[in-house]
Symmetry: D2
Subunit: 264 residues, 4 copies
């Protein structure tokens, strides 16, 4: 592949690779500069496709000038939303954020402050299907590339996440696989752990079982009430989710076997 | 209680307390200097017992000059054993270590090097009961206060751990409650976590479910094979186990509701 | 002291103590519930003062119902400002924030969004004295208890910080005492460190030499440009500053010998 | 270069690269499998040299079957020495350790236990030059590739470290550049830091100023005496030094501008 790129005048800036000897798979991320391309993009793309086919490689091609479009899904907690929007405004996240979707009206003022459309789609078991149809429509309308569940408190259907495989990032407020499901801080308090964690992962059909992108922990003790864990955890959730989103936006994550290769 | 101690000339050096508002329990650790005791130990002990009874308090009394006696249980891995023995020799762990028990002969040379008796008690499902009887005998003979499972690869029976409640410390090579049971590093590898952990806890009748004393984690990535996780994990296991043993030897751990209060 | 409190019906909720054997000083923080006070506050205060004098103790008395008043000083960076304001709004910081002072107009919109007065006091070497006079006036007008320098890029005079001893918290973007002074991220880049840090401390007459309240670090590598360090460091600065402010607001910090005792 | 390797049948297993845009330098580490080499090593080496010269590249070539030979320098502290020897015995460090050099006889029993020659070379200001001459001789005799100062308490001369540039790894017990020089734990105690650190670096003519390979920190508080810092620090020193040695043995460290590129 390096030879193909070289032959077309595509200058390799970065190349990371990983071999999984167990799964017997080889992974590579190549970042190229096309400013001195000898042919045109179409020719290059055809050459890449040809090589990939010959060697049985799967590949994805991203152009950095095509800035990704992100939809944020939120419920009532503002901390992850604010964090992402402030990082975005500060230039940390290279993307457009045209729309925020919520099952509650509470965070509309935050969206307004940042000049972003805020769409309320209420969700209860009865309305789930219609609500998701509306959400999917919205994603199509806004030409969305990535959905970020920024403490969105509703579970997306298997149908939804399958259609958006590896394009929905969720933040779970525990160190997965510990404390799957509801109220992980309460579970952590009950178990008496000495560290709490947060996990960013791609959402899959099985709750909290998707490929893990990033995790981190913070120390706690018997002195911490559930409220203290919630407070400490907020700092983790923000940072871990933001790192995962940034890695995705930079096309640094490859997924296989329900795991991630993160080229950072 | 402070008044009783004061009244007998027992000088309070340290006092830590914790109130659990959920369990509605109050915990306190008081360290006193008896060098200017106005009465004698017996009188003081009776006064403490009287106050404790009057207010419905549970208490334990330890004399620092009574150095605790520790038995180490090991199998084939030497890293935790060496770590504890070197810390002990270096003065980090205030205890006597009169005996090392193992289900394998492999680590006898380490015991010899440190001049400690090494007793091999093989263990298979058939012999488990007789083996444990012998172990309990040994603990009695050596007047043991604390059993440390330093990567001991056999599960102690419910009967054993009940008799030694809160006096058997185990190191589990995962961030509990994630990856309970066998081969946690393999489980961690399969799940694709981005941090691995280690947990020191008191052994109870339910495997890996006892009160957690200490935990820590280290970062890993897709680049780490199971062997890499095992290697990185060893450093965690050593440090986390040593911290837990030290806390226990200093009488800094109170247990209730399958959780610990650690006064550090 | 415990006896005096007890005698007046002041119920001790928490008591932390620390003995510094080198400095030969004893420190204690006692939190009491006055709801069942047998006398009145004046009587209690006199009794405390009397005991303190008798035993040569220094003490400070805070009433929790007297919520502290905080002034934030900022320049052009918004991340710490936003972080503190959002935490305040979310109930993490028990204080009033009546005024934000800046040497630049840039962050006025943030202040407006949170409904807080924003006062621009430009500052250059020539105007420093007059500017500080105005600042001190402002603090007096607003009855301020604590000044937080949330990435304020001007050095306060020795006169100012002496008048506000242990009541001005600064965040320095390095792991002090490494990289004192200007541009610590550039210094860190030059030195090739593998971790960068942030330090919250009380401002004193000597730059970056005040008593350290809290510190934390994050891993970096040769891959990180100065801009990457700045970005990673922002997350540290926010968290470390917020923790320090929270500790101060809870009256958990005692200062002596240019060091802090933090009762957390 | 990739083409040259490919052309000779050298199969690229790993390739890491780094571009420093400030220093305008490009770094690459390539690991190749020579089992299907079409030519012989000599031919390959000449081809590599030719390409390197043509493009003005500096390069080093290591054969994995040529196991590195390491000399450990120690004084009286045993923790780093034991740690390295146990890791070596456990297969974590791919090297030979034929000799341990010390300015004191104290650790001879440790060397004996592991079957390694222990040479005492006393050192005081008067004898420094002769002592170093003897050390250099010893390194030559044993065909040493790497010197590890495992808490060696003597400063090597500028002449020595220049001759052994980037081949002497030292562990300094602070988070450099904080607390350069003598008694860093005492300095840390005096300054009242909330974290202590350890730094592994290549020794250079200027004390504690060499290229940093690895660093880590651990939390401390006002409760920690100097002795507590020393104890906590030992765990850091061991782990940080071992990581640095391992990285060096794997040829993962490139040095330039007094900084390191670490390809891990």
């Amino acid at each position: 592949m390096a030879q193909v790129l070289f032959g077309h005048g595509a200058n390799i800036l970065d190349a990371d690779q990983h071999t999984d000897p167990v799964a017997q798979q080889f992974f590579q991320r190549i970042r190229v500069d096309l400013s001195e391309l000898l042919t045109d993009k179409g020719t290059l793309e055809r050459a890449i496709a040809e090589v990939a086919q010959r060697f049985g490689m799967t590949y994805r091609l991203y152009y950095a000038e095509r800035v990704k479009r992100v939809a944020l899904f939120v419920s009532k907690y503002e901390h992850c939303l604010y964090d992402l929007l402030l990082r975005h405004r500060g230039g940390e996240l290279a993307c457009h954020i045209p729309v925020i979707v919520s099952n509650h009206p509470d965070l509309a003022p935050v969206a307004r402050e940042f000049g972003i459309e805020y769409v309320v789609i209420p969700k209860d078991p009865a309305s789930q299907e219609a609500a998701e149809a509306r959400e999917l429509e919205l994603l199509a309308e806004h030409n969305i590339d990535l959905v970020v569940l920024a403490r969105y408190m509703r579970v997306l259907s298997a149908k939804f996440v399958s259609a958006w495989e590896n394009r929905v990032i969720n933040i779970h407020h525990s160190f997965l696989p510990a404390f799957v499901g509801q109220k992980p801080y309460h579970q952590a308090y009950e178990r008496g752990v000495k560290l709490i964690g947060a996990t960013a992962h791609y959402a899959t059909a099985v709750l909290d079982q998707g490929p893990i992108i990033e995790q981190d922990v913070i120390r706690c003790s018997h002195k911490d009430s559930v409220e203290d864990l919630v407070r400490k955890g907020r700092d983790l959730e923000k940072v871990v989710l933001a790192r995962a989103v940034r890695l995705h936006l930079d096309d640094r994550i490859l997924v296989y076997d329900n795991k991630t290769v993160v080229f950072d």
